[in-house]
């Protein structure tokens, strides 16, 4: 289950009961979900939508990697994914490709799937 275009902070804990194997979050437009994730962790693997799919500004892969690595104790990162915050169709093609390279670099630095 992937949610996007906003946060799910208020229902974050209820999502654990949703019949899905993996939970995905837009953590850019839905950045308010992040504190809930930090506080409660996740019993299910997660898709961390930390790469902004709605803006061309390039993220620092190291900074993204650090944010993700810091969750190692409360999220099973080996079963989890790093992803854009939602679909990349509203970025210019060259910028969308760059975002995917940033995603790969950040994922490699953490050791999660991207």
């Amino acid at each position: 289950l992937f949610t996007f275009f906003g946060d799910v902070a208020k229902i974050y804990r209820d999502l654990a009961d949703v019949p899905a194997d993996i939970l995905g979050f837009d953590l850019v437009q839905g950045s308010a979900t992040w504190p809930a994730l930090v506080k409660h962790g996740s019993t299910k693997p997660v898709v961390l939508g930390l790469i902004d799919a709605r803006n061309t500004k390039e993220e620092d892969p190291k900074a993204i990697a650090k944010r993700v690595s810091d969750r190692r104790s409360s999220v099973d990162l080996r079963a989890s994914y790093l992803a854009p915050s939602n679909g990349l169709e509203f970025l210019p093609r060259d910028r969308a490709r760059k975002k995917l390279r940033i995603l790969r670099a950040a994922a490699d630095a953490v050791g999660v799937a991207g």
């Binding site: 803006n55 061309t56 500004k57 169709e89 509203f90 970025l91 210019p92 093609r93 060259d94 910028r95």
Partner: protein, 323 residues
């Protein structure tokens, strides 16, 4: 008495010779000067047409613009233009990217306003893409805050509005189609539009379209402009009941033809729409226009819609003895 003045929202379709010329110019096969000659020709043709059919407040038709946000952005410092980005459906535009502090190089649309106004004695609107829409339709790699980016655009667009007024614009329209995209940011929109219109003596208009008007309705009377220009026909005039309960304290430009359909509304249907509008709005505060810019229609469709619109308006005026 002044009753049921007619106007247009802004853009008209480009004639085929201009579309072809723009393609050539984009490939470097036509000089900017050669393109300008054709843009002036097309602008003059649209001014003549509006005069012929009796429109009261004219527009230049935006024959020199591609996308409404990109046009302003490419004439500002601090921006770059990206590759093609999906706008909606299968329509794409080159979306602006804010890469540095926004600054105004000089007048953006003033020269075109002067050119258009010189072709007619009737008033021509000065047309500005609003600060909220400029921000919402741009990528931001510099400000990092939607409010900061929006207010930076607002400051520059105020300078443009003042320049338009100094050039003789009696009516200045701020286009904010993005108005209803984020209801939580309506206060920012009011502040930004207020920055643009502050101190202007010209009559000010805000155009918006295709949103959930019911969500933004309470802000209509707070918008710092003299007139609201609204798409009404595409949404089946469904706001009329609400306007009846909660009166608008401004002028309204009321869209009586749908710009998203090839169907040419017959005069009788447009007359009906105008009469319905007259049950709510005073004729002196009711302007008649299309829902939105007509650039997505063919030249023939746009002309037919405008002709029927003015004929229907004249007929309603006559039947009420307002001619």
């Amino acid at each position: 008495m002044k009753a049921l003045l007619t106007t247009s929202v802004g853009s008209f379709p480009k004639p085929e010779y201009l579309t072809r010329a723009r393609t050539k110019a984009s490939k470097g096969e036509l000089s900017p000067e050669e393109l300008r000659v054709l843009e002036e020709k097309a602008t003059t043709e649209w001014i003549r047409f509006q005069e012929e059919i009796g429109i009261d407040v004219l527009v230049d038709g935006e024959q020199y613009r591609g996308d409404m946000a990109t046009y302003f952005a490419e004439n500002l410092e601090g921006t770059e233009i990206s590759g093609l980005v999906r706008s909606y459906g299968n329509r794409y535009y080159k979306k602006p990217v804010i890469v540095d502090e926004l600054r105004r190089r000089g007048p953006i649309s003033v020269e075109w306003f002067r050119f258009a106004q010189a072709q007619t004695k009737k008033p021509v609107k000065g047309m500005i893409t609003g600060p909220y829409t400029m921000m919402d339709w741009s990528f931001d790699e510099y400000y990092g805050s939607r409010e900061e980016a929006c207010l930076a655009f607002a400051k520059l667009l105020h300078e443009e509005a003042v320049a338009l007024e100094s050039a003789g614009a009696k009516v200045i329209q701020v286009d904010e189609p993005a108005l209803s995209s984020r209801f939580d940011e309506l206060r920012l929109l009011v502040k930004a539009v207020g920055t643009v219109t502050k101190g202007l003596e010209a009559s000010t208009v805000l155009h918006t379209c295709y949103g959930n008007y019911n969500e933004i309705f309470e802000y209509f009377n707070k918008l710092p402009v003299d007139q609201l220009d609204l798409e009404m026909s595409n949404s089946g005039l469904d706001l009329l009941d609400r306007f009846k309960r909660e009166p608008l304290k401004k002028e309204i430009a009321f869209g009586v033809v749908d710009v998203h359909t090839h169907v040419i509304e017959p005069e009788s249907l447009i007359r009906e729409r105008i009469e319905k509008a007259l049950t709510i709005f005073a004729p002196s505060k009711l302007f008649i226009d299309p829902d939105c810019g007509l650039k997505t229609r063919s030249v023939e469709e746009a002309k037919a819609k405008l002709k029927n619109m003015t004929a229907a308006t004249q007929s309603v005026r006559k039947s009420h003895g307002w001619t």
